[in-house]
Symmetry: C2
Amino acid sequence: MSTEFSAWRKLVQADMEAVLDRHLPMVSEQPAKLHEAMRYTTLDGGKRVRPLLVFAAGELFDAPRDALERAAAAVEMIHAYSLVHDDMPCMDDDDLRRGKPTVHKRYDEATALLVGDALQSQAFETLSGGALDAARKIEMLALLASASGSRGMCGGQAIDLDSVGIALALPELEHMHQWKTGALLRASVLLGAMAGKALQAAEQAALDAYAKAVGLAFQVVDDILDATADSATLGKTAGKDAANNKPTYVSILGLEASLALAEKLRQDAHQALLSFGDAALRLRELADLVVQRKA
Amino acid sequence: MSTEFSAWRKLVQADMEAVLDRHLPMVSEQPAKLHEAMRYTTLDGGKRVRPLLVFAAGELFDAPRDALERAAAAVEMIHAYSLVHDDMPCMDDDDLRRGKPTVHKRYDEATALLVGDALQSQAFETLSGGALDAARKIEMLALLASASGSRGMCGGQAIDLDSVGIALALPELEHMHQWKTGALLRASVLLGAMAGKALQAAEQAALDAYAKAVGLAFQVVDDILDATADSATLGKTAGKDAANNKPTYVSILGLEASLALAEKLRQDAHQALLSFGDAALRLRELADLVVQRKA
Protein backbone atom coordinates (compact mmCIF):
# COMPACT_ATOMS: atom_id res chain seq x y z
CA MET A 1 0.00 0.00 0.00
CA SER A 2 1.18 3.48 -0.88
CA THR A 3 1.99 5.98 1.83
CA GLU A 4 -0.52 8.24 0.12
CA PHE A 5 -3.21 5.60 0.70
CA SER A 6 -2.16 5.18 4.33
CA ALA A 7 -2.47 8.91 4.84
CA TRP A 8 -5.93 8.95 3.19
CA ARG A 9 -7.04 6.08 5.37
CA LYS A 10 -5.91 7.82 8.55
CA LEU A 11 -7.69 10.99 7.45
CA VAL A 12 -10.97 9.16 6.84
CA GLN A 13 -10.66 7.31 10.15
CA ALA A 14 -10.02 10.56 12.02
CA ASP A 15 -12.81 12.29 10.15
CA MET A 16 -15.21 9.49 11.06
CA GLU A 17 -14.66 10.16 14.76
CA ALA A 18 -15.75 13.76 14.21
CA VAL A 19 -18.65 12.72 11.96
CA LEU A 20 -19.97 10.10 14.37
CA ASP A 21 -19.49 12.50 17.26
CA ARG A 22 -21.69 15.00 15.40
CA HIS A 23 -24.40 12.49 14.48
CA LEU A 24 -24.67 10.72 17.85
CA PRO A 25 -26.78 12.25 20.63
CA MET A 26 -24.72 14.15 23.20
CA VAL A 27 -24.21 12.86 26.74
CA SER A 28 -25.57 16.19 27.99
CA GLU A 29 -28.93 15.13 26.53
CA GLN A 30 -31.22 12.77 28.47
CA PRO A 31 -31.06 9.80 28.84
CA ALA A 32 -27.39 10.41 29.64
CA LYS A 33 -26.34 6.83 30.35
CA LEU A 34 -27.83 5.50 27.13
CA HIS A 35 -26.15 8.24 25.11
CA GLU A 36 -22.86 7.67 26.88
CA ALA A 37 -23.05 3.94 26.11
CA MET A 38 -23.94 4.60 22.45
CA ARG A 39 -20.84 6.75 22.20
CA TYR A 40 -18.68 4.34 24.19
CA THR A 41 -19.25 1.59 21.65
CA THR A 42 -19.23 3.66 18.46
CA LEU A 43 -16.44 6.20 19.01
CA ASP A 44 -12.72 5.72 19.41
CA GLY A 45 -12.17 2.34 17.89
CA GLY A 46 -12.68 0.11 14.93
CA LYS A 47 -10.97 -0.15 11.58
CA ARG A 48 -13.82 1.77 9.92
CA VAL A 49 -13.74 -0.61 6.95
CA ARG A 50 -17.32 0.28 5.96
CA PRO A 51 -16.81 4.06 6.07
CA LEU A 52 -13.59 3.60 4.06
CA LEU A 53 -15.62 1.70 1.44
CA VAL A 54 -18.26 4.46 1.41
CA PHE A 55 -15.66 7.19 0.90
CA ALA A 56 -13.65 5.22 -1.67
CA ALA A 57 -16.79 4.48 -3.71
CA GLY A 58 -17.88 8.09 -3.36
CA GLU A 59 -14.68 9.21 -5.08
CA LEU A 60 -15.77 7.30 -8.19
CA PHE A 61 -18.60 9.74 -8.81
CA ASP A 62 -17.54 12.87 -6.93
CA ALA A 63 -20.19 12.44 -4.26
CA PRO A 64 -20.76 15.45 -1.99
CA ARG A 65 -18.95 15.27 1.34
CA ASP A 66 -21.97 15.59 3.65
CA ALA A 67 -23.84 12.79 1.88
CA LEU A 68 -20.81 10.48 2.20
CA GLU A 69 -20.38 11.35 5.85
CA ARG A 70 -24.03 10.56 6.55
CA ALA A 71 -23.90 7.27 4.64
CA ALA A 72 -20.66 6.28 6.36
CA ALA A 73 -22.01 7.19 9.80
CA ALA A 74 -25.22 5.24 9.12
CA VAL A 75 -23.48 2.01 8.06
CA GLU A 76 -21.04 2.30 10.95
CA MET A 77 -23.91 2.72 13.42
CA ILE A 78 -25.59 -0.38 12.00
CA HIS A 79 -22.28 -2.25 12.26
CA ALA A 80 -21.72 -1.00 15.81
CA TYR A 81 -25.22 -2.00 16.92
CA SER A 82 -24.73 -5.49 15.46
CA LEU A 83 -21.50 -5.93 17.42
CA VAL A 84 -23.14 -4.84 20.67
CA HIS A 85 -25.99 -7.32 20.26
CA ASP A 86 -23.67 -10.02 18.91
CA ASP A 87 -21.47 -9.78 22.01
CA MET A 88 -24.38 -10.27 24.43
CA PRO A 89 -24.50 -13.43 26.56
CA CYS A 90 -27.38 -14.96 24.56
CA MET A 91 -25.33 -14.64 21.35
CA ASP A 92 -21.51 -14.87 21.34
CA ASP A 93 -21.10 -13.93 25.02
CA ASP A 94 -17.92 -11.94 24.49
CA ASP A 95 -16.27 -9.74 27.11
CA LEU A 96 -13.80 -7.89 24.92
CA ARG A 97 -14.27 -5.73 21.82
CA ARG A 98 -11.71 -3.41 20.29
CA GLY A 99 -9.61 -3.99 23.39
CA LYS A 100 -12.31 -2.66 25.73
CA PRO A 101 -15.03 -4.34 27.81
CA THR A 102 -18.14 -5.01 25.71
CA VAL A 103 -21.20 -2.84 26.42
CA HIS A 104 -23.02 -5.41 28.54
CA LYS A 105 -19.86 -5.85 30.64
CA ARG A 106 -19.11 -2.14 30.98
CA TYR A 107 -22.79 -1.28 31.62
CA ASP A 108 -25.39 -4.06 31.77
CA GLU A 109 -27.38 -6.30 29.42
CA ALA A 110 -30.49 -4.12 29.33
CA THR A 111 -28.38 -1.11 28.36
CA ALA A 112 -26.62 -3.15 25.66
CA LEU A 113 -29.98 -4.16 24.23
CA LEU A 114 -31.19 -0.53 24.13
CA VAL A 115 -27.87 0.79 22.79
CA GLY A 116 -28.16 -1.53 19.80
CA ASP A 117 -31.82 -0.69 19.24
CA ALA A 118 -31.23 3.05 19.47
CA LEU A 119 -28.15 2.94 17.22
CA GLN A 120 -30.20 1.24 14.52
CA SER A 121 -32.85 3.98 14.69
CA GLN A 122 -30.13 6.63 14.69
CA ALA A 123 -28.62 5.17 11.52
CA PHE A 124 -31.86 5.68 9.61
CA GLU A 125 -32.38 9.11 11.13
CA THR A 126 -28.88 10.18 10.07
CA LEU A 127 -29.31 8.84 6.54
CA SER A 128 -32.67 10.59 6.15
CA GLY A 129 -31.03 14.00 6.67
CA GLY A 130 -28.83 16.09 4.42
CA ALA A 131 -29.23 17.84 1.08
CA LEU A 132 -29.35 14.93 -1.37
CA ASP A 133 -32.37 14.61 -3.65
CA ALA A 134 -35.22 12.92 -1.72
CA ALA A 135 -35.73 10.16 -4.30
CA ARG A 136 -32.02 9.23 -4.04
CA LYS A 137 -32.21 9.22 -0.25
CA ILE A 138 -35.22 6.91 -0.33
CA GLU A 139 -33.27 4.45 -2.49
CA MET A 140 -30.36 4.62 -0.07
CA LEU A 141 -32.59 4.12 2.98
CA ALA A 142 -34.32 1.15 1.36
CA LEU A 143 -30.93 -0.38 0.53
CA LEU A 144 -29.60 0.06 4.06
CA ALA A 145 -32.80 -1.32 5.62
CA SER A 146 -32.76 -4.34 3.35
CA ALA A 147 -29.05 -4.99 3.96
CA SER A 148 -29.60 -4.80 7.72
CA GLY A 149 -32.73 -6.93 8.04
CA SER A 150 -33.77 -10.55 7.88
CA ARG A 151 -32.71 -10.82 4.23
CA GLY A 152 -29.33 -9.32 5.07
CA MET A 153 -27.23 -8.98 8.20
CA CYS A 154 -29.82 -10.24 10.72
CA GLY A 155 -30.65 -13.14 8.44
CA GLY A 156 -26.97 -14.07 8.26
CA GLN A 157 -26.76 -13.98 12.06
CA ALA A 158 -29.75 -16.30 12.26
CA ILE A 159 -28.18 -18.75 9.81
CA ASP A 160 -24.92 -18.52 11.75
CA LEU A 161 -26.69 -19.34 15.02
CA ASP A 162 -28.37 -22.34 13.48
CA SER A 163 -25.10 -23.67 12.08
CA VAL A 164 -23.10 -23.94 15.31
CA GLY A 165 -21.84 -27.49 15.57
CA ILE A 166 -23.06 -28.36 12.06
CA ALA A 167 -20.53 -29.28 9.36
CA LEU A 168 -21.40 -26.62 6.76
CA ALA A 169 -20.18 -27.19 3.22
CA LEU A 170 -18.26 -24.35 1.61
CA PRO A 171 -21.21 -22.98 -0.45
CA GLU A 172 -23.37 -22.79 2.67
CA LEU A 173 -20.62 -21.08 4.62
CA GLU A 174 -20.16 -18.59 1.79
CA HIS A 175 -23.92 -17.99 1.62
CA MET A 176 -24.07 -17.32 5.36
CA HIS A 177 -21.22 -14.81 5.23
CA GLN A 178 -22.65 -13.06 2.17
CA TRP A 179 -25.61 -12.22 4.38
CA LYS A 180 -23.95 -11.77 7.73
CA THR A 181 -21.14 -9.42 6.75
CA GLY A 182 -21.35 -9.21 2.96
CA ALA A 183 -24.70 -7.42 2.80
CA LEU A 184 -23.53 -4.42 4.81
CA LEU A 185 -20.15 -4.24 3.04
CA ARG A 186 -22.00 -4.26 -0.29
CA ALA A 187 -24.35 -1.55 1.00
CA SER A 188 -21.32 0.54 1.98
CA VAL A 189 -19.92 0.44 -1.55
CA LEU A 190 -23.27 1.11 -3.21
CA LEU A 191 -24.26 3.90 -0.79
CA GLY A 192 -20.98 5.70 -1.43
CA ALA A 193 -21.50 5.49 -5.18
CA MET A 194 -25.23 6.37 -4.98
CA ALA A 195 -24.36 9.48 -2.98
CA GLY A 196 -22.66 10.65 -6.18
CA LYS A 197 -25.15 9.63 -8.85
CA ALA A 198 -28.00 7.27 -9.71
CA LEU A 199 -26.24 4.04 -10.69
CA GLN A 200 -26.62 2.44 -14.11
CA ALA A 201 -27.11 -1.32 -14.18
CA ALA A 202 -23.57 -2.01 -15.43
CA GLU A 203 -22.04 0.21 -12.74
CA GLN A 204 -24.08 -1.47 -10.04
CA ALA A 205 -23.12 -4.94 -11.34
CA ALA A 206 -19.42 -4.03 -11.31
CA LEU A 207 -19.64 -2.63 -7.78
CA ASP A 208 -21.63 -5.69 -6.68
CA ALA A 209 -18.91 -8.00 -7.99
CA TYR A 210 -16.26 -5.91 -6.23
CA ALA A 211 -18.22 -5.85 -2.97
CA LYS A 212 -18.89 -9.56 -3.10
CA ALA A 213 -15.19 -10.37 -3.54
CA VAL A 214 -14.10 -7.92 -0.82
CA GLY A 215 -16.83 -9.14 1.53
CA LEU A 216 -15.79 -12.76 1.21
CA ALA A 217 -12.10 -11.84 1.40
CA PHE A 218 -12.85 -9.94 4.59
CA GLN A 219 -14.42 -13.02 6.13
CA VAL A 220 -11.72 -15.44 4.95
CA VAL A 221 -9.07 -13.16 6.46
CA ASP A 222 -11.14 -12.85 9.66
CA ASP A 223 -11.11 -16.62 9.96
CA ILE A 224 -7.36 -16.75 9.23
CA LEU A 225 -6.67 -14.12 11.90
CA ASP A 226 -8.99 -15.81 14.40
CA ALA A 227 -6.93 -18.98 13.94
CA THR A 228 -3.47 -17.42 13.89
CA ALA A 229 -3.38 -14.09 15.78
CA ASP A 230 -3.57 -13.44 19.52
CA SER A 231 -6.29 -11.57 21.42
CA ALA A 232 -4.09 -8.56 22.15
CA THR A 233 -3.42 -8.01 18.44
CA LEU A 234 -7.07 -8.51 17.48
CA GLY A 235 -8.54 -6.46 20.34
CA LYS A 236 -11.08 -9.26 20.75
CA THR A 237 -10.95 -12.84 21.95
CA ALA A 238 -8.95 -14.96 19.46
CA GLY A 239 -9.66 -18.60 18.73
CA LYS A 240 -13.38 -18.18 19.54
CA ASP A 241 -14.61 -19.94 16.41
CA ALA A 242 -12.69 -23.13 17.07
CA ALA A 243 -13.67 -23.01 20.75
CA ASN A 244 -17.34 -22.63 19.75
CA ASN A 245 -17.07 -25.34 17.11
CA LYS A 246 -18.13 -22.82 14.45
CA PRO A 247 -17.40 -23.66 10.83
CA THR A 248 -14.75 -21.34 9.30
CA TYR A 249 -12.81 -21.15 6.05
CA VAL A 250 -9.74 -22.39 7.92
CA SER A 251 -11.58 -25.34 9.47
CA ILE A 252 -13.03 -26.38 6.09
CA LEU A 253 -10.22 -25.50 3.66
CA GLY A 254 -7.16 -25.45 5.91
CA LEU A 255 -4.82 -22.47 6.36
CA GLU A 256 -2.87 -22.69 3.08
CA ALA A 257 -5.92 -22.87 0.86
CA SER A 258 -7.59 -20.09 2.86
CA LEU A 259 -4.62 -17.81 2.24
CA ALA A 260 -4.73 -18.65 -1.47
CA LEU A 261 -8.47 -17.97 -1.58
CA ALA A 262 -8.02 -14.56 0.04
CA GLU A 263 -5.42 -13.66 -2.61
CA LYS A 264 -7.69 -14.85 -5.42
CA LEU A 265 -10.58 -12.77 -4.07
CA ARG A 266 -8.29 -9.72 -3.93
CA GLN A 267 -7.57 -10.18 -7.62
CA ASP A 268 -11.27 -10.69 -8.37
CA ALA A 269 -11.98 -7.40 -6.65
CA HIS A 270 -9.39 -5.60 -8.82
CA GLN A 271 -10.81 -7.27 -11.93
CA ALA A 272 -14.33 -6.07 -11.16
CA LEU A 273 -13.17 -2.46 -11.10
CA LEU A 274 -11.48 -2.43 -14.54
CA SER A 275 -14.21 -0.39 -16.24
CA PHE A 276 -13.80 2.47 -13.74
CA GLY A 277 -10.11 3.02 -14.56
CA ASP A 278 -8.02 5.27 -12.32
CA ALA A 279 -11.05 6.62 -10.43
CA ALA A 280 -11.24 3.26 -8.63
CA LEU A 281 -7.72 3.45 -7.17
CA ARG A 282 -8.96 3.80 -3.59
CA LEU A 283 -11.32 0.84 -3.95
CA ARG A 284 -8.45 -1.30 -5.30
CA GLU A 285 -6.19 -0.29 -2.44
CA LEU A 286 -8.96 -1.06 0.03
CA ALA A 287 -9.23 -4.60 -1.36
CA ASP A 288 -5.49 -4.91 -0.74
CA LEU A 289 -5.88 -3.59 2.79
CA VAL A 290 -8.68 -6.04 3.60
CA VAL A 291 -6.54 -9.00 2.54
CA GLN A 292 -3.22 -7.81 3.96
CA ARG A 293 -4.46 -6.55 7.36
CA LYS A 294 -3.00 -8.08 10.50
CA ALA A 295 -5.95 -7.42 12.83
CA MET B 1 -68.84 3.84 21.17
CA SER B 2 -71.05 3.52 18.11
CA THR B 3 -71.60 0.14 16.48
CA GLU B 4 -70.36 1.82 13.30
CA PHE B 5 -67.04 2.57 15.05
CA SER B 6 -66.80 -0.99 16.36
CA ALA B 7 -67.28 -2.30 12.84
CA TRP B 8 -64.61 0.08 11.49
CA ARG B 9 -62.22 -0.99 14.21
CA LYS B 10 -62.73 -4.67 13.44
CA LEU B 11 -62.21 -3.99 9.74
CA VAL B 12 -58.94 -2.16 10.36
CA GLN B 13 -57.75 -4.87 12.73
CA ALA B 14 -58.55 -7.60 10.20
CA ASP B 15 -56.98 -5.59 7.40
CA MET B 16 -53.80 -5.17 9.46
CA GLU B 17 -53.35 -8.93 9.62
CA ALA B 18 -53.39 -9.03 5.82
CA VAL B 19 -51.16 -5.96 5.51
CA LEU B 20 -48.57 -7.25 7.97
CA ASP B 21 -48.71 -10.67 6.35
CA ARG B 22 -47.88 -9.01 3.03
CA HIS B 23 -45.05 -6.86 4.38
CA LEU B 24 -43.33 -9.50 6.53
CA PRO B 25 -40.93 -11.97 4.90
CA MET B 26 -42.50 -15.35 4.19
CA VAL B 27 -41.56 -18.47 6.15
CA SER B 28 -40.74 -20.14 2.83
CA GLU B 29 -37.84 -17.67 2.54
CA GLN B 30 -34.57 -18.34 4.37
CA PRO B 31 -33.88 -18.01 7.25
CA ALA B 32 -37.16 -19.81 7.95
CA LYS B 33 -37.02 -19.85 11.76
CA LEU B 34 -36.31 -16.12 12.00
CA HIS B 35 -39.15 -15.32 9.62
CA GLU B 36 -41.49 -17.65 11.45
CA ALA B 37 -40.64 -15.97 14.76
CA MET B 38 -41.09 -12.48 13.26
CA ARG B 39 -44.57 -13.54 12.15
CA TYR B 40 -45.33 -15.33 15.42
CA THR B 41 -44.91 -12.14 17.39
CA THR B 42 -46.41 -9.66 14.92
CA LEU B 43 -49.45 -11.48 13.49
CA ASP B 44 -52.64 -12.67 15.14
CA GLY B 45 -52.75 -10.52 18.22
CA GLY B 46 -52.64 -7.06 19.65
CA LYS B 47 -55.15 -4.29 19.88
CA ARG B 48 -53.54 -2.50 16.90
CA VAL B 49 -53.94 0.84 18.66
CA ARG B 50 -51.18 2.42 16.59
CA PRO B 51 -52.54 1.25 13.21
CA LEU B 52 -55.99 2.47 14.29
CA LEU B 53 -54.47 5.89 15.00
CA VAL B 54 -52.73 5.87 11.61
CA PHE B 55 -55.95 5.05 9.76
CA ALA B 56 -58.09 7.46 11.79
CA ALA B 57 -55.65 10.30 11.19
CA GLY B 58 -55.42 9.34 7.53
CA GLU B 59 -59.17 9.90 7.16
CA LEU B 60 -58.67 13.54 8.09
CA PHE B 61 -56.84 14.22 4.84
CA ASP B 62 -58.02 11.43 2.53
CA ALA B 63 -54.64 9.67 2.58
CA PRO B 64 -54.17 6.94 -0.05
CA ARG B 65 -54.77 3.44 1.25
CA ASP B 66 -51.36 1.92 0.41
CA ALA B 67 -49.51 4.74 2.18
CA LEU B 68 -51.63 4.27 5.31
CA GLU B 69 -51.11 0.54 5.25
CA ARG B 70 -47.34 0.96 5.00
CA ALA B 71 -47.24 3.54 7.78
CA ALA B 72 -49.47 1.37 9.98
CA ALA B 73 -47.38 -1.73 9.30
CA ALA B 74 -44.17 0.17 10.04
CA VAL B 75 -45.30 1.54 13.41
CA GLU B 76 -46.74 -1.84 14.36
CA MET B 77 -43.43 -3.54 13.51
CA ILE B 78 -41.56 -1.04 15.67
CA HIS B 79 -44.07 -1.62 18.46
CA ALA B 80 -43.80 -5.41 18.07
CA TYR B 81 -39.99 -5.33 18.14
CA SER B 82 -40.03 -3.22 21.30
CA LEU B 83 -42.30 -5.74 23.02
CA VAL B 84 -40.06 -8.66 22.05
CA HIS B 85 -36.96 -6.94 23.44
CA ASP B 86 -38.85 -5.58 26.45
CA ASP B 87 -39.98 -9.10 27.41
CA MET B 88 -36.44 -10.52 27.39
CA PRO B 89 -34.89 -11.70 30.67
CA CYS B 90 -32.49 -8.75 30.87
CA MET B 91 -35.42 -6.32 30.67
CA ASP B 92 -38.88 -7.18 32.07
CA ASP B 93 -38.37 -10.98 31.94
CA ASP B 94 -41.95 -11.76 30.95
CA ASP B 95 -43.21 -15.17 29.83
CA LEU B 96 -46.61 -14.19 28.48
CA ARG B 97 -47.64 -11.69 25.81
CA ARG B 98 -51.04 -11.46 24.16
CA GLY B 99 -51.88 -14.75 25.86
CA LYS B 100 -49.00 -16.60 24.18
CA PRO B 101 -45.44 -17.46 25.29
CA THR B 102 -43.07 -14.56 24.59
CA VAL B 103 -40.57 -15.03 21.74
CA HIS B 104 -37.60 -15.93 23.94
CA LYS B 105 -39.77 -18.55 25.68
CA ARG B 106 -41.25 -19.98 22.47
CA TYR B 107 -37.88 -19.88 20.66
CA ASP B 108 -34.78 -18.69 22.50
CA GLU B 109 -33.12 -15.46 23.59
CA ALA B 110 -30.83 -15.15 20.58
CA THR B 111 -33.80 -15.50 18.24
CA ALA B 112 -35.75 -12.91 20.24
CA LEU B 113 -32.85 -10.49 19.92
CA LEU B 114 -32.66 -10.99 16.13
CA VAL B 115 -36.44 -10.88 15.68
CA GLY B 116 -36.52 -7.44 17.27
CA ASP B 117 -33.55 -6.21 15.26
CA ALA B 118 -34.94 -7.50 11.97
CA LEU B 119 -38.42 -6.11 12.65
CA GLN B 120 -36.94 -2.67 13.15
CA SER B 121 -35.13 -2.86 9.79
CA GLN B 122 -38.29 -4.17 8.14
CA ALA B 123 -40.29 -1.22 9.47
CA PHE B 124 -38.01 1.23 7.67
CA GLU B 125 -37.92 -0.91 4.54
CA THR B 126 -41.72 -1.05 4.43
CA LEU B 127 -42.07 2.69 4.97
CA SER B 128 -39.54 3.45 2.23
CA GLY B 129 -41.72 1.71 -0.37
CA GLY B 130 -44.94 2.77 -2.05
CA ALA B 131 -46.03 5.55 -4.36
CA LEU B 132 -45.95 8.60 -2.09
CA ASP B 133 -43.80 11.55 -3.10
CA ALA B 134 -40.16 10.86 -2.06
CA ALA B 135 -39.82 14.08 -0.06
CA ARG B 136 -42.91 13.18 1.97
CA LYS B 137 -41.58 9.68 2.57
CA ILE B 138 -38.27 11.06 3.81
CA GLU B 139 -40.12 13.22 6.35
CA MET B 140 -42.10 10.20 7.49
CA LEU B 141 -38.99 8.01 7.79
CA ALA B 142 -37.17 10.69 9.76
CA LEU B 143 -40.16 11.01 12.09
CA LEU B 144 -40.40 7.28 12.69
CA ALA B 145 -36.65 6.95 13.26
CA SER B 146 -36.63 9.80 15.72
CA ALA B 147 -39.71 8.49 17.57
CA SER B 148 -38.09 5.05 17.85
CA GLY B 149 -34.60 6.05 18.94
CA SER B 150 -32.81 7.35 21.99
CA ARG B 151 -34.83 10.59 21.97
CA GLY B 152 -38.05 8.57 21.71
CA MET B 153 -39.11 5.06 22.57
CA CYS B 154 -35.64 3.63 23.40
CA GLY B 155 -34.86 6.71 25.47
CA GLY B 156 -38.07 6.20 27.44
CA GLN B 157 -37.13 2.57 28.06
CA ALA B 158 -33.74 3.69 29.34
CA ILE B 159 -35.32 6.21 31.72
CA ASP B 160 -37.80 3.55 32.83
CA LEU B 161 -34.96 1.11 33.59
CA ASP B 162 -33.13 3.72 35.64
CA SER B 163 -36.24 4.57 37.64
CA VAL B 164 -37.01 1.12 39.06
CA GLY B 165 -37.23 1.44 42.82
CA ILE B 166 -36.98 5.25 42.66
CA ALA B 167 -39.88 7.38 43.84
CA LEU B 168 -40.55 9.36 40.66
CA ALA B 169 -42.62 12.49 40.97
CA LEU B 170 -45.58 12.86 38.62
CA PRO B 171 -43.83 15.17 36.11
CA GLU B 172 -40.93 12.72 35.78
CA LEU B 173 -43.30 9.78 35.34
CA GLU B 174 -45.20 11.71 32.66
CA HIS B 175 -41.94 12.65 30.94
CA MET B 176 -40.81 9.01 30.90
CA HIS B 177 -44.09 7.81 29.39
CA GLN B 178 -44.15 10.59 26.80
CA TRP B 179 -40.96 9.05 25.48
CA LYS B 180 -41.57 5.37 26.11
CA THR B 181 -45.05 5.03 24.61
CA GLY B 182 -46.05 8.60 23.72
CA ALA B 183 -43.45 9.11 20.99
CA LEU B 184 -44.65 6.18 18.87
CA LEU B 185 -48.34 6.97 19.44
CA ARG B 186 -47.66 10.55 18.35
CA ALA B 187 -45.78 9.26 15.31
CA SER B 188 -48.77 7.05 14.42
CA VAL B 189 -51.12 10.05 14.36
CA LEU B 190 -48.71 12.26 12.43
CA LEU B 191 -47.74 9.55 9.92
CA GLY B 192 -51.40 8.89 9.12
CA ALA B 193 -52.00 12.59 8.53
CA MET B 194 -48.74 13.10 6.60
CA ALA B 195 -49.69 10.23 4.28
CA GLY B 196 -52.52 12.53 3.17
CA LYS B 197 -50.77 15.89 2.94
CA ALA B 198 -47.85 17.97 4.13
CA LEU B 199 -48.98 19.26 7.53
CA GLN B 200 -49.27 22.95 8.33
CA ALA B 201 -47.93 24.09 11.69
CA ALA B 202 -51.40 24.56 13.21
CA GLU B 203 -52.52 21.11 12.04
CA GLN B 204 -49.42 19.49 13.47
CA ALA B 205 -49.85 21.35 16.78
CA ALA B 206 -53.48 20.19 17.07
CA LEU B 207 -52.53 16.58 16.28
CA ASP B 208 -49.61 16.80 18.73
CA ALA B 209 -51.95 17.94 21.50
CA TYR B 210 -54.36 15.13 20.66
CA ALA B 211 -51.59 12.51 20.54
CA LYS B 212 -50.08 13.74 23.80
CA ALA B 213 -53.43 13.44 25.61
CA VAL B 214 -54.19 10.03 24.10
CA GLY B 215 -50.66 8.78 24.80
CA LEU B 216 -50.81 9.74 28.46
CA ALA B 217 -54.38 8.43 28.77
CA PHE B 218 -53.19 5.15 27.30
CA GLN B 219 -50.51 4.85 29.97
CA VAL B 220 -52.75 5.90 32.85
CA VAL B 221 -55.30 3.27 31.78
CA ASP B 222 -52.50 0.70 31.40
CA ASP B 223 -51.49 1.36 34.99
CA ILE B 224 -55.13 1.13 36.14
CA LEU B 225 -55.59 -2.18 34.34
CA ASP B 226 -52.28 -3.53 35.63
CA ALA B 227 -53.50 -2.83 39.15
CA THR B 228 -57.10 -4.02 38.74
CA ALA B 229 -57.42 -6.63 35.96
CA ASP B 230 -56.24 -10.24 35.94
CA SER B 231 -53.62 -11.81 33.67
CA ALA B 232 -56.18 -13.79 31.64
CA THR B 233 -58.05 -10.60 30.69
CA LEU B 234 -54.87 -8.69 29.88
CA GLY B 235 -53.15 -11.51 27.99
CA LYS B 236 -50.01 -10.58 29.91
CA THR B 237 -48.87 -10.82 33.51
CA ALA B 238 -50.94 -8.45 35.67
CA GLY B 239 -49.61 -6.71 38.77
CA LYS B 240 -46.05 -6.65 37.36
CA ASP B 241 -45.46 -2.97 38.11
CA ALA B 242 -46.25 -3.27 41.79
CA ALA B 243 -44.25 -6.51 42.00
CA ASN B 244 -41.27 -4.78 40.33
CA ASN B 245 -41.67 -1.70 42.50
CA LYS B 246 -42.15 0.42 39.39
CA PRO B 247 -43.73 3.83 39.78
CA THR B 248 -47.20 4.05 38.17
CA TYR B 249 -50.01 6.56 38.06
CA VAL B 250 -51.96 4.35 40.46
CA SER B 251 -49.07 4.09 42.92
CA ILE B 252 -48.52 7.86 42.89
CA LEU B 253 -52.07 9.23 42.54
CA GLY B 254 -54.21 6.36 43.78
CA LEU B 255 -56.94 4.62 41.81
CA GLU B 256 -59.70 7.26 42.04
CA ALA B 257 -57.52 10.15 40.92
CA SER B 258 -56.05 8.00 38.12
CA LEU B 259 -59.55 7.28 36.79
CA ALA B 260 -60.37 10.99 36.92
CA LEU B 261 -57.12 11.85 35.12
CA ALA B 262 -57.88 9.38 32.34
CA GLU B 263 -61.29 10.99 31.85
CA LYS B 264 -59.78 14.48 31.79
CA LEU B 265 -57.22 13.41 29.18
CA ARG B 266 -60.04 11.95 27.06
CA GLN B 267 -61.72 15.35 27.11
CA ASP B 268 -58.42 17.10 26.32
CA ALA B 269 -58.05 14.83 23.29
CA HIS B 270 -61.52 15.80 22.04
CA GLN B 271 -60.77 19.45 22.64
CA ALA B 272 -57.58 19.30 20.58
CA LEU B 273 -59.55 18.07 17.55
CA LEU B 274 -62.15 20.86 17.45
CA SER B 275 -60.67 22.62 14.43
CA PHE B 276 -60.98 19.46 12.30
CA GLY B 277 -64.77 19.19 12.78
CA ASP B 278 -66.56 16.04 11.68
CA ALA B 279 -63.53 14.65 9.81
CA ALA B 280 -61.97 13.85 13.20
CA LEU B 281 -64.81 11.58 14.34
CA ARG B 282 -62.65 8.45 14.25
CA LEU B 283 -59.86 10.08 16.24
CA ARG B 284 -62.39 11.19 18.89
CA GLU B 285 -63.82 7.70 19.11
CA LEU B 286 -60.33 6.26 19.41
CA ALA B 287 -59.64 8.50 22.40
CA ASP B 288 -62.82 7.09 23.96
CA LEU B 289 -61.69 3.55 23.17
CA VAL B 290 -58.27 4.08 24.75
CA VAL B 291 -59.82 5.28 28.01
CA GLN B 292 -62.73 2.84 28.14
CA ARG B 293 -60.89 -0.34 27.17
CA LYS B 294 -60.85 -3.27 29.57
CA ALA B 295 -57.58 -4.90 28.42
